[in-house]
């Protein structure tokens, strides 16, 4: 009897109980281990961030010193500028923010935080990574096809995207659509996995309201993505057919309507903002109580607010279209829902601030990034209320004010939140501590330079500076604002160079960093209950959960933290007193 026949005759082992893989390929490349897949996502996202950062450098240089030779590159031609703007948005949202926040940290942390040995569907998980890997390859390949990469904006507005005559880009746009379709299917697979894992694989005692908020945020993000991306997948199919099969869904000349694309895109687009934003918030919400040594303020209020914000995000999409030619009467209901969405977010922000209030604060790098994200997100959120009002939006639309607002929402949540997550969970992921000095250097350069890039852009936006123009010097009324552009560009270059400490720190610490303890931050959630890095299948024995995730400074307890899995008082101090 051959080994294979023996294997077939024995009962199939449970798919989660796979034995530790031995060969290099199964262990590090085609791995079904959620921890390895999480690291693969992280590597992919960080690599794509370098590409996306370089596109930002070319855009900013062109805006500050138009049509001069870019150091390290040649001239930026007008068509190429359009490509850069398009690819910057596409890469940063779909291939940096989502892979890092959902792919890397969602994958790595959800099974650990719920006390599971792996994801619910490990092979599906592997497939979702290799699908987005393929999508990234397709997107990168589109730079090298005749005609260059997509140039219709990251929103792919029809008819620009629907007919090659407008942008001169033929195959690049087709590959862009294909790459996005693959990316969407990758995160759909991921979403199914996240939801099923969080719903079904929780350790005994881990009820929904004992879940770490990070898991809640990932769950909400997964639901939002799964319920919003469908119409855009249909839209992507229609757009591709418009380009290749002669249909006319979005082309007026063939009876179609370009506005339909905007509806389909933004129906997805606004929930997508929260798909990227909520996991970043989740990381911040994990970090604040740990370094304030206080329970999270208003756990349930945060959960309900998240769900409310998610639900509202489905009925705000036309605020992107106030001047696109929609019925003017629609502006009022969409303004109202948009401004309404600030209420749940205000609750979340106030809960974060209240968590800090009276805590014994510590300021290692993850806490600095979390606080930085909180402070800068406030500016993004408040300027969003300006834009949500149709009357203001009509003036601000398609100006640099919108660009600055957008970057002030997504940069804090996705990048600052993502950095906070990297500094906080790196010890768990790699078993080493990151260097604090380099980390703090990275933080201060990033936070100062970021504000120096985008606060000036609010000003030029209010001055009426249109976005997506190639050369601002062609307009007399924009010329006085040119020094502001130059300042923002210098700051942007500093911001990009400021990421070098992170890269150095990341690789140096992998080899030479101080070895991490199992629970270096003295935190309560389950991922700290296992070794750093966790072994195959995560936990030596299935952990049992006895209490909420944020029991810090519990009166009568010897230490100021009390992990979820340690037997002891089951209830909150307040509940015991009651």
């Amino acid at each position: 009897m051959t080994a294979r026949a023996v294997a077939k005759a024995t009962p199939e082992p449970h798919h989660n109980r796979h034995s530790a893989p031995q060969s290099f390929w199964r262990k590090y490349v085609f791995s079904v281990d959620h921890k390895v897949i999480g690291k693969q996502y992280l590597a992919l996202g960080l690599f794509m961030a370098l590409v996306g950062g370089f596109t930002a450098y070319l855009i900013r240089w062109q805006l500050a010193w138009p049509e001069t030779e870019v150091p390290g590159w040649s001239y930026v031609e007008p068509d190429f500028y359009n490509t850069m703007v398009t690819m910057h948005g596409t890469i940063m949202v779909f291939f940096v923010a989502m892979p890092i926040l959902l792919g890397a940290f969602g994958n790595f942390l959800i099974p650990l935080m719920v006390g599971a040995p792996d994801m619910a569907f490990p092979r599906l998980n592997m497939m979702s990574f290799w699908t987005i890997f393929t999508a990234s390859c397709v997107l990168m390949a589109s730079f090298f096809v005749p005609g260059g990469a997509a140039a219709a904006g990251w929103t792919g507005y029809a008819p620009l995207s629907a007919d090659p005559v407008y942008t001169g880009v033929d195959w690049g746009q087709n590959l862009w659509i294909l790459a996005l379709a693959l990316e969407f299917s990758s995160f759909l697979m991921g979403g199914v996995n996240f939801m099923t894992t969080a719903i079904n694989m929780r350790a005994p005692g881990l009820s929904l309201f004992r879940l770490p908020l990070f898991v809640w945020m990932q769950m909400t993000a997964a639901v939002l993505f799964m319920l919003s991306v469908g119409p855009l997948i249909a839209g992507a199919v229609m757009l591709l057919l418009d380009r290749t099969a002669g249909t006319g869904f979005f082309l007026p000349a063939r009876g179609g309507d370009p506005l339909l694309w905007q509806h389909l895109f933004w129906f997805f687009g606004h929930p997508e903002v929260y798909v990227v934003l909520l996991p970043g918030f989740g990381a911040i919400l994990e970090i604040l109580p740990v370094f304030a040594r206080k329970p999270i303020f208003g756990y349930r209020a945060i959960v309900y607010s998240t769900i409310a914000a998610g639900a509202l995000s489905f009925i705000v999409w036309a605020h992107h279209m106030f001047i696109s030619g929609i019925d003017a009467r629609l502006a009022i209901p969409f303004s109202v829902t948009t401004i309404l969405i600030s209420v749940p977010f205000a609750i979340m922000i106030f809960s974060m601030i209240a968590t800090l209030w009276g805590g014994s604060l510590r300021f290692p790098t993850p806490m600095l990034f979390a606080l930085g994200a909180l402070a800068t997100f406030l500016i993004g959120g408040v300027t969003g209320i300006f834009l949500g009002s149709a009357a203001v939006d009509i003036f601000m639309h398609d100006t640099y004010f919108v660009v600055a607002h957008f970057h002030f929402t997504l940069f804090p949540s996705a990048l600052l939140g993502g950095f906070a997550a990297i500094y906080y969970w790196y010890p768990k992921m790699f078993g080493r501590m990151l260097d604090e000095t380099l980390g703090k250097l990275h933080f201060w350069i990033t936070i100062v330079a970021f504000n120096c890039v985008f606060i000036p852009l609010f000003l030029v936006g209010m001055g009426g500076h249109m976005r997506r123009i190639y050369n601002p010097l062609q307009y007399d009324f924009l010329k006085p604002m040119q020094p502001i552009h130059e300042f923002a560009t210098i700051a942007a270059i500093v911001l990009l160079l400021g990421q070098i400490p992170l890269i150095v720190n990341f690789f140096w610490s992998l080899a030479f960093g101080r070895r991490a303890a199992d629970n270096p931050w003295q935190a309560n959630t389950l991922e700290w209950a296992t070794t750093s890095p966790p072994p195959h299948e995560n936990f030596a024995a299935v952990p049992t959960v006895y209490r909420d995730a944020y029991e810090y400074s519990l009166p009568g307890n010897a230490t100021d933290w009390l992990p979820q899995h340690v037997p002891g008082p089951a209830l909150k101090a307040q509940e015991q007193a009651a």
């Binding site: 077939k8 005759a9 009962p11 199939e12 449970h14 798919h15 989660n16 109980r17 006390g115 599971a116 619910a120 569907f121 599906l124 759909l188 979403g191 199914v192 996995n193 939801m195 099923t196 719903i199 079904n200 694989m201 929780r202 350790a203 005994p204 009820s207 929904l208 799964m226 319920l227 919003s228 991306v229 469908g230 119409p231 855009l232 997948i233 249909a234 839209g235 199919v237 229609m238 057919l241 099969a245 002669g246 249909t247 006319g248 869904f249 063939r254 009876g255 179609g256 309507d257 339909l260 389909l264 129906f267 299935v542």
Partner: protein
């Protein structure tokens, strides 16, 4: 696929495959929802498309509807047979479901050939763009379901009965979904 491992930690008392399947179907509902919504709004905006819909073949589509609804019945029978541990009957009904699905696709292909023969291509106007996109996407889903059901039919004959058992239910959920989509497509494209 045994689920005993998770039963101690499961709060929902649902097997993970079922939970995953429902979430997958929820996302699929949104794909077709977006397409159907776009179609309805475009049709209203274009003033009804009465002239165009006169050229689709309601009779063939009605036969196809009957075939697909019958296949929903047979996959339920397959599931019932699986629950009753009757291997042969389960295989029989899986095979019938596969054949009905293939029948649907063949008839749909025949219908396409008639329409293309009359010169109606996806480029013949917005109605035809929608018609071919919607039925084509649905057809791809039917094809995927046929493949899945056929694989289960093959597996159910071997020693992998344990692996097949629960998957028949999940394949059935998907197959019902494909049917329900057609139940929306038939009136929207042929009857209205």
């Amino acid at each position: 696929m045994a689920h005993s491992e998770h039963e101690t930690r499961v709060f929902t008392e649902q097997p993970i495959g079922r939970v995953g399947m429902w979430w997958f179907l929820a996302s699929e509902v949104m794909v077709f929802g977006g397409l159907l919504g776009s179609y309805i709004l475009s049709r209203i905006a274009a003033g009804g498309w009465a002239a165009e819909t006169a050229h689709v073949n309601t009779r063939i589509a009605a036969i196809n509807t009957l075939i697909l609804v019958t296949s929903s019945l047979t996959i339920v029978q397959a599931h019932a047979a699986v629950e009753a541990e009757e291997h042969t009957r389960a295989r029989k009904y899986l095979l019938i479901t596969v054949l009905l699905g293939l029948g649907f696709l063949c008839i749909k292909g025949f219908e396409y050939s008639i329409e293309l023969g009359h010169g109606f291509t996806p480029a013949s106007g917005l109605f035809w763009s929608y018609y071919y996109t919607m039925t084509g996407l649905h057809g791809l889903h039917v094809f995927a379901g046929v493949v899945v059901n056929f694989v289960l039919f093959l597996l159910a004959g071997g020693r992998r009965w344990a692996a097949v058992k629960q998957r028949v239910e999940y394949a059935g959920l998907y197959w019902h979904f494909v049917d329900v989509v057609w139940i929306f497509l038939f009136p929207l494209l042929y009857l209205a």
